[in-house]
């Protein structure tokens, strides 16, 4: 009951964030215009609310949900509260896929960049799975993930370096900074379906994540095929990360922070953490996107820039708190 209570509360928060994300924005609307948007679907105000703001807010929420879920999965698999999809290089691989496709001039074909980002995430996730089946230790997987992340970053830099067109370079950079500007309902769908699949997969891994609390070797003596469940968990995390990066570019730290926000409410149970973490991520990113829109700057703040600016100090704070608890 308590668990459903938490999830219901988080759903309410997500809904509130979506309502706020739809109601508020750069252009101020009067009460009459809000009423008009609700009554006349062909009015200008309705266009702003339902065709611009609402899908944008929903995209932010779905991307945040992907990142929150992927973060909770990665932290559970690695038994490390500081892990997130970015740390293991899945985001970087997806970013690399997108960068290559843009520089090769594929940006004109609809969905090509997104597909390339997905392929990048799949390759990154596949490499992680290959590695995880051979070396089960979480430390080994973290080190491999860091290497993968650096390498994907280096190849992305090489793409910049060799890119013949400064316009393409600017486009890649723009994309890598992360944004949900001008997203439509189809983006919500394209990200939402993988999120639902990943969430379904992740729920089957709950028992394994719980067993991993005792360490890899002991978990495998409890009667679970740990190798198989780890593959499913990494697959789900890669799918969610790929969907998020394909739609919004690289948005960091949500995957790290969302599980932390709710971990205390589920008594640190890594299985119960999954769905609340996805919901917390959804709420966080919807609010963060609203904040980027409301911040009075000449150039609109990029979502990825904003989350990194807020997230990096938060990461340091979490690391500091963790380090203090280790000393106890």
């Amino acid at each position: 009951m308590r668990r459903l209570g938490l999830e219901a509360l988080l759903v309410l928060v997500v809904v509130a964030a979506l309502v706020a994300g739809t109601a508020f924005g750069e252009s101020h609307l009067g009460l009459a215009q809000y009423l008009q948007a609700l009554s006349d679907p062909h009015s200008g105000a309705a266009e702003v609310l339902w065709a611009i703001r609402a899908p944008r807010a929903a995209t932010a929420a779905v991307v945040g949900g992907c990142l929150g879920l992927a973060g909770a999965l990665m932290q559970g698999v690695l038994r490390n509260p500081l892990a997130d999809p970015g740390v293991l290089g899945v985001s970087a691989c997806a970013g690399l896929g997108a960068a290559v496709s843009i520089v090769l001039g594929m940006a004109l074909a609809p969905g090509a960049v997104e597909a390339a980002a997905f392929v990048g995430a799949a390759v990154g996730g596949g490499l992680l799975i290959l590695f995880a089946t051979r070396f089960p230790e979480p430390e080994a997987l973290v080190l491999f993930g860091v290497a993968l992340c650096s390498f994907a970053g280096a190849v992305t830099a090489l793409v910049f370096n060799l890119s013949p067109s400064p316009i393409a370079t600017a486009e890649v950079l723009n994309w890598l900074l992360g944004s949900v500007e001008n997203r439509s309902w189809s983006d919500v769908l394209v990200t939402g379906v993988p999120l639902l699949i990943a969430a379904g997969l992740s729920l089957t891994t709950g028992r394994a994540l719980k067993a991993l609390t005792l360490g890899d070797e002991t978990a495998s003596t409890l009667g679970l095929d740990m190798r198989r469940w780890k593959i499913v968990a990494i697959l789900a995390a890669s799918l969610a990360t790929g969907a998020a990066v394909a739609t919004a570019g690289v948005v960091g730290f949500v995957g790290l922070a969302a599980p932390h926000l709710v971990r205390g409410f589920v008594r640190e149970d890594p299985a119960r953490l999954l769905i609340p973490s996805a919901l917390a991520g959804a709420a966080m990113l919807a609010v963060a996107d609203l904040a980027t829109r409301m911040t009075p700057t000449d150039q609109e703040l990029k979502l990825g820039v904003f989350t990194a600016l807020v997230g990096a100090p938060l990461f340091a704070l979490l690391a500091w708190r963790s380090a203090r608890s280790w000393r106890r």
Partner: protein, 252 residues
Amino acid sequence: MSAALEFQDLRVDLGGRPVLKGVGASLPAGKLIGVCGPNGAGKSTLLRAAMGLVRPKAGKALLFGRDAAGMGPVERASHAAYLPQERRVAWGMASVEVAALGAFDQPPELARVRALEALETVGASGLAERSVFDLSGGERAKVLLARLLASQAPLLILDEPIAGLDPDAQLMTLELLKGLTAKGVTVVATLHDLFLCARFCDLALVLAEGCLAACAPPLEALCPPLLAEVFRLEAEWLDSPRGHLLAATRLP
């Protein structure tokens, strides 16, 4: 009597180095068996091979007559439960949740009931709802022991179950394990305390540099010549009203 655990010429290499060099022993069901030997003798590796956690280079470890290396995780868990030396717990879950991991194959409600029973058995009922992060080392050891008991497996394999515990907790643990053997459970535990091994165990399996040095009732196995050769101790067993005591000095 049938063997709960049997090693047949078991050879294990770790990192290219031979750790077990052909160990053969048959451990009867319903007994408390102490695995002794100096550091690096291969005790932990022997237990891990019994659980199918390391692949033998040659030979076999048989759990109730079946090759441990060829068993699936579910079958293995139904035969044996394992308590590693490492007591790290990754997340600060409630103690009862951690103990319930032992009864993983059961529905959650039943697993919880078993966990609470096991916590009561180890004298840790009061810790049930506390986070394992807030427990002392000894308290955490009790919760992890309860996790093992909650499995209700017919064979319990424990690596250094009393290391780092105070005397009361050491005796409590061994009395508890001894009590389980009366119910037909087989318990195999590595022990560094030869005196406690002699007092509680039915059999002592002594390893020396990856080879079997002895497998017999403790006072027979841990005889002065063996203590001198394997442990480099000049030692003798003394009778006392509370059992046998070991008086020992290091050999030069």
